[in-house]
């Protein structure tokens, strides 16, 4: 590893002359990660692109109504779901910034969805929504005497529920991050504005938002990229059903894999790249400073 790496950028002088002992160690210590990267990122990605090389796969995708539906669902998930989530997180970060003992305790409980694994809680929600035995419909029956709706059998409701589960899981994380941003704002600014008689909206508009907007927008973009990969919320709640109408891109790939249509699975992911890569590049630039 060390030899191949350094040979590429050193042409004529012998290795030992150009590299000091710390640099030799540097290459040796970087080697484990490079090996992992080559074997489990470069090779799979290259292989995946090779699988997705035929134009016929894209034609097949284009003609598959489930793909179009999944693309629309993903867009709804990202554009509506994430923005609702981030707005609530922004609001709640203001709530948790209040100095009260009980709010400190509540913040400890509030982080639970983030601290526990998502599988059991998603399954718990799935059972709550079961049309016959779920607790939601049990309560509806108890109070109204009517049977409740078959929640997960309506694609729109099922997708909304999946978005709800996603929000439930990741809201604490983003609230916490926005809270850190909010607490970094100097308290003097608020005190000065109190003296000037500013109301809460003016404080938010002229103090909080200007200091937090970069953080807020970065968080929103990052959350969008990560939510693209949210497999669990959809797969474990709806399984992509009813009738494959609630798939998103991340579950669609697995669906094609199950159907042994590997080239379609890869092509569907490649289709997302024009949207993902600019975002990824932007985030990378921000964080690598």
């Amino acid at each position: 590893m060390a030899i191949t790496l350094s040979a590429s950028d050193t042409a004529s002088p012998p290795l030992s002359a150009r590299l000091s002992p710390p640099q030799v160690w540097g290459i040796a210590l970087l080697a484990p990660y490079l090996l992992v990267f080559l074997a489990f990122v470069v090779y799979p990605v290259g292989y995946g692109l090779w699988l997705a090389r035929q134009p016929s796969s894209y034609v097949a995708l284009y003609n598959d109504p489930i793909f179009a539906r999944a693309a629309v669902n993903t867009l709804i998930f990202l554009v509506i779901g994430i923005n609702i989530k981030m707005l609530i997180a922004l609001f709640l970060s203001g709530f948790f910034a209040q100095q009260r003992p009980w709010i400190r305790w509540l913040s400890v409980i509030f982080i639970l969805p983030w601290a526990v694994p998502s599988i059991p809680t998603i399954l718990s929600v799935r059972f709550m929504l079961n049309p016959e035995w779920g607790v939601v419909n049990q309560l509806i029956f108890k109070f109204t005497g009517d049977d409740g709706p078959n929640w997960l059998n309506d694609p729109a409701v099922a997708l909304a529920m999946a978005i709800g589960v996603h929000i439930w899981k990741s809201l604490p994380f983003w609230t916490l991050i926005l809270l850190t941003g909010r607490l970094a704002i100097s308290h003097d600014l608020y005190e000065a504005s109190d003296v000037d008689g500013a109301n809460w909206w003016q404080k938010f508009r002229y103090i909080t938002w200007p200091s937090m907007q970069t953080l807020y927008i970065t968080c929103t973009l990052l959350s969008m990229i990560w939510t693209l990969g949210d497999f669990n919320s959809v797969y474990l709640l709806t399984g992509g059903g009813p009738a494959d109408l609630t798939h998103v891109l991340s579950t669609l790939g697995i669906r094609y894999l199950r159907l042994d249509q590997l080239s379609l699975a890869m092509a569907s992911i490649v289709c997302a790249m024009p949207f993902v890569l600019p975002l990824v590049y932007f985030m990378m630039k921000r964080l690598s400073r």
Partner: protein, 283 residues
């Protein structure tokens, strides 16, 4: 004692008006799971807020593996534990070495490697799942714990390297210079100066990797399939295969499965908040 003014009562009431829904929203799925876990089978479906006869019988069934779905519970618990710990250890090794090399030794090309790692961090892991599955097949690692361990190290390492690099950039250069002046070799510098100073970040990164691996579902269910090989989350997912699956046992197992990561999270919260959330998004 001073009586609160009307204005203070009003503010408190408004805060409660937000706090109570937040509490209910947060607790519902967890409480629902908990009630199922302590309900006897016949009580579980009555929709009561608290069971008439709370019992720990479900836990006893799970621990004694007395159900078809649970016959490999302990070995699956063991699989989850071993894989999570292995991912934690390997990620720490790979990431610490890489961060030291990039940040302290300033190895040529280090910045490029950092950027590649960050790039991987931002690509959603689910997108890599299908090619990773095929690759593991090519390497002959499918249905082998190593496939999941290596896949999770691949996913955990980029962020780990980034966090460690950020932390180690803050250590003064003079430290390395002083140690080198005293005749320390690079390896001694790493072992005796770097690692002890980086301890808080190392704890944070190790915890991060362990929790990531323990919680992983997608990769685990793709890469492992035999009942005695799979991890707990896959076993939980398998309950859904049958229509008459015993919900109360599924919820009990889920509850047991959720406890260790929650405990770890709260125990290391200090490190997690300091080391990770601040680092996750730099403003």
């Amino acid at each position: 004692m001073k009586l609160p003014t009307l204005r203070e009562v009003g503010t408190e009431a408004k805060l409660l008006l937000i706090g109570i829904p937040v509490f209910i929203w947060t607790m519902i799925p967890i409480y629902h799971m908990f009630v199922f876990a302590i309900s006897p089978k016949e009580d579980a479906f009555t929709g009561k807020l608290w069971p008439d006869h709370p019992t720990l019988h479900n836990f006893s069934i799970v621990f004694h593996q007395q159900h078809y779905f649970l016959r490999d519970f302990w070995i699956q618990f063991w699989n989850s534990t071993v894989i999570a710990l292995a991912v934690g250890a390997l990620t720490l090794f790979v990431a610490t070495a890489a961060a030291f090399s990039i940040s302290r030794l300033r190895v040529p090309g280090g910045r490029a490697v950092m950027n590649m790692a960050l790039f991987t961090y931002f690509i959603p892991a689910a997108f890599l799942a299908v090619p990773m599955y095929r690759t593991m097949g090519t390497y002959g690692l499918l249905n082998n714990h190593w496939s999941l361990i290596l896949a999770m190290v691949t996913i955990a390492a980029p962020y780990a390297i980034w966090v460690l690099k950020q932390a180690s950039d803050k250590l003064p250069v003079e430290l390395d210079e002083a140690a080198t002046m005293d005749g320390a070799t690079t390896l001694q510098l790493f072992r005796l100066v770097y690692v002890p100073l980086m301890m808080p970040s190392l704890v944070a990164v190790g915890t991060y990797a362990i929790l990531l691996a323990w919680n992983e579902y997608l990769y685990a269910f793709l890469l492992l399939s035999k009942d005695t090989d799979i991890t707990l989350p896959v076993a939980l997912g398998n309950f859904l295969a049958a229509d008459d699956s015993p919900w109360e046992l599924l919820m009990t197992t889920g509850f047991i499965y959720a406890l260790p990561p929650a405990a770890v999270y709260y125990a290391f919260k200090r490190y997690m908040v300091g080391g990770l959330t601040a680092g996750a998004v730099k403003s």
